[in-house]
């Protein structure tokens, strides 16, 4: 079983490295965004912290949200080129196949967080956090990547082509971008944000980076919420894709 999963993970990672669009969206885009935001907002704001300091935790989630698009495009592209059918006539189970996507995207999320975190530090971001706090931030990001895989699967179910998938994925990307990362929230938008996975991740990482213990009750509650959300979204994504995804 592991031989199959590892082979698929290797293939997905090679896709990330060798497909320029994937490489840009998943690695270069978050890096460029962090540098631009650091340059633009690093000197703004009052008191001890700059505007960039308050935005940085949102940037971590921001990068991971775009996994929705790459996952959706990857599935639709493989479907269009007959590769999903081809894999389907091997003994590989759908659990192994989708599991390999989840593992790959968790890897990518970890890389993204590492890149954005290091570049943020370079741009002057100084979080009040210890090693355990950073580890907890990574755990939150892993759950967010799980949500992105699930939402990517739902997008791939609806989309007929890779091009359509990139457009439709914004249904899930935009609300999270505006109401679940670094944008200030109003009373109304906070209600919407309550349904968005990235909101809980940004809130938790912001709190952790402000020096609160990663095992504080509020953090653990947010961890529980994002864990539950990710499980529900992934199961829903797998169910919809298997039933209506026209493999």
């Amino acid at each position: 079983m592991m031989q199959r999963v590892l082979a698929l993970v290797k293939m997905e990672l090679l896709k990330l490295i060798r497909e320029p669009a994937n490489l840009f969206l998943n690695m270069l885009f978050p890096a460029i965004l962090t540098l631009v935001f650091g340059l633009a907002f690093g000197g703004l704001g009052g008191g001890d912290s700059s505007l960039f300091d308050t935005m940085a935790p949102g940037l971590f989630a921001y990068a991971c949200i775009f996994l929705i698009m790459t996952v959706a495009m990857s599935f639709t592209d493989d479907r269009e080129s007959g590769l999903l059918k081809r894999i389907n006539v091997t003994p590989t189970t759908s659990t192994q196949f989708i599991g390999s996507h989840i593992i790959t995207n968790m890897f990518i999320a970890v890389f993204q967080l590492a890149i954005v975190f290091l570049l943020s530090l370079l741009m002057g971001f100084r979080p009040n956090v210890d090693v355990l706090g950073v580890i907890m931030a990574f755990v939150f990001m892993l759950f967010l990547s799980l949500c992105s895989v699930g939402l990517g699967l739902i997008t791939a179910t609806i989309a007929k082509s890779a091009g359509a998938a990139s457009g439709i994925s914004f249904i899930f990307i935009l609300p999270q971008m505006f109401f679940g990362t670094f944008m200030p929230l109003t009373e109304a938008t906070r209600v919407i944000a309550a349904f968005l996975p990235s909101y809980y991740v940004t809130e938790a990482i912001t709190t952790i980076f402000n020096g609160v213990s990663p095992f504080a009750v509020e953090i653990l509650m947010q961890l529980g919420i994002i864990a539950l959300m990710s499980i529900i979204i992934v199961i829903l994504g797998i169910f919809l894709f298997k039933k209506y995804g026209k493999v």
């Binding site: 031989q3 080129s81 590769l83 006539v89």
Partner: protein, 319 residues
């Protein structure tokens, strides 16, 4: 009231036993007998219901479909009354087939005749609307995972990861069959050498020509050393030289006792390679036999003439 005693049960059991013996010796009539056994069993159940309070000692033991279909184990693929409907459209309409082990069987037919749909049902990509089929002795509805372990499928359109090198594609699919690393490398080397893709095997498939992609497509289908191989139009888009080479390649597979189900538009390909061919049109199997048998039966010089006569007549008759 219908009365029944132990003797009736024994007689009925004897009848079933006789039928089963009969089935073993008459493989060609298996499908018909299977229906008779079904009817007989229904009758037994009906009789049991008519006797209140009495529990019958007669046990109706159903054989597995593959045992009934293939008692001598000589068949690789058995298709019985297979139907596939897409909404109002019937793509496959009650096909029956018995493909023997080691046979190279050609499935011919015009575009949209139902060839690929039939294959897709046999390899588990589509669920049959009605009917049943077994591949390698396994039922397509119940034992799909076992079927997938013994088959190789070469799809009509080359399905390869373009960003991977030729060799990486082959290794990926070999790993999906959980092949031993050394065996996988050995087989991959052999296939790349035989196909003339050795040089190109370390290049990304993105740069391959159409013919090279088709060869890679075929290598992937064969890498797991499958017992039963489904080749869906494997030589479309190949130049005549590569096509001839691929024919030799397919012919060699037959020598290795592989069962091959080949769909093709090239009638001369079927004539040159196949032991038997089945011609499908409008989802129905309208001719079945060896190329020679069909040519004799339809008084034709070659298989193409047979094909044109049969499918053309159906068009004229408005079938």
């Amino acid at each position: 009231m219908v009365m029944r005693n132990t003797n009736d049960d024994e007689k009925m059991q004897n009848l079933i036993d006789e039928f089963k013996k009969d089935i073993s010796s008459k493989n060609n009539e298996i499908l018909g007998y299977h229906d008779k056994i079904d009817a007989l069993e229904q009758e037994i159940i009906r009789l049991q219901k008519l006797i209140p309070g009495e529990t019958s000692k007669l046990k109706v033991k159903r054989e597995k479909p593959e045992d009934i279909f293939d008692p001598d184990g000589a068949s690789a693929v058995i298709v019985k009354d297979l139907v596939k409907q897409f909404g109002d459209v019937t793509a496959v309409n009650g096909i029956n087939l018995d493909i023997k082990k080691g046979e190279l069987f050609g499935l011919l037919g015009p575009n949209g005749a139902g060839k690929t749909t039939t294959i897709n049902m046999l390899v588990g990509l589509l669920d049959p609307t009605e009917g049943t089929a077994s591949v390698g002795g396994y039922d397509v509805k119940r034992d799909l995972n076992k079927i997938k372990e013994i088959i190789g499928v070469c799809p009509q359109e080359p399905a390869v990861f373009k960003f991977l090198k030729g060799r990486e594609n082959v290794e990926l699919f070999g790993n999906l069959f959980e092949m031993d690393k050394n065996v996988l490398k050995e087989r991959a080397d052999k296939f790349f050498e035989a196909s003339g893709l050795k040089e190109a095997s370390n290049r990304k498939a993105k740069g391959y020509s159409g013919g090279m992609l088709r060869q890679l497509n075929l290598i992937i289908a064969l890498i797991n050393d499958p017992k039963i191989i489904f080749l869906d139009e494997p030589t479309v888009g190949m130049d005549p030289r590569v096509r001839r080479k691929t024919w030799t390649f397919i012919g060699d597979l037959k020598q290795k006792d592989k069962t091959i189900i080949l769909t093709t538009h090239y009638i001369e390909e079927a004539e040159a390679l196949c032991d038997r061919v089945g011609i499908i049109d409008y989802g129905e199997l309208i001719a079945l036999g060896s190329p020679k048998e069909l040519m004799k039966k339809h008084d034709a010089k070659n298989l193409e003439e047979v094909f044109m006569k049969i499918t053309g007549r159906r068009i004229l008759e408005g079938v």
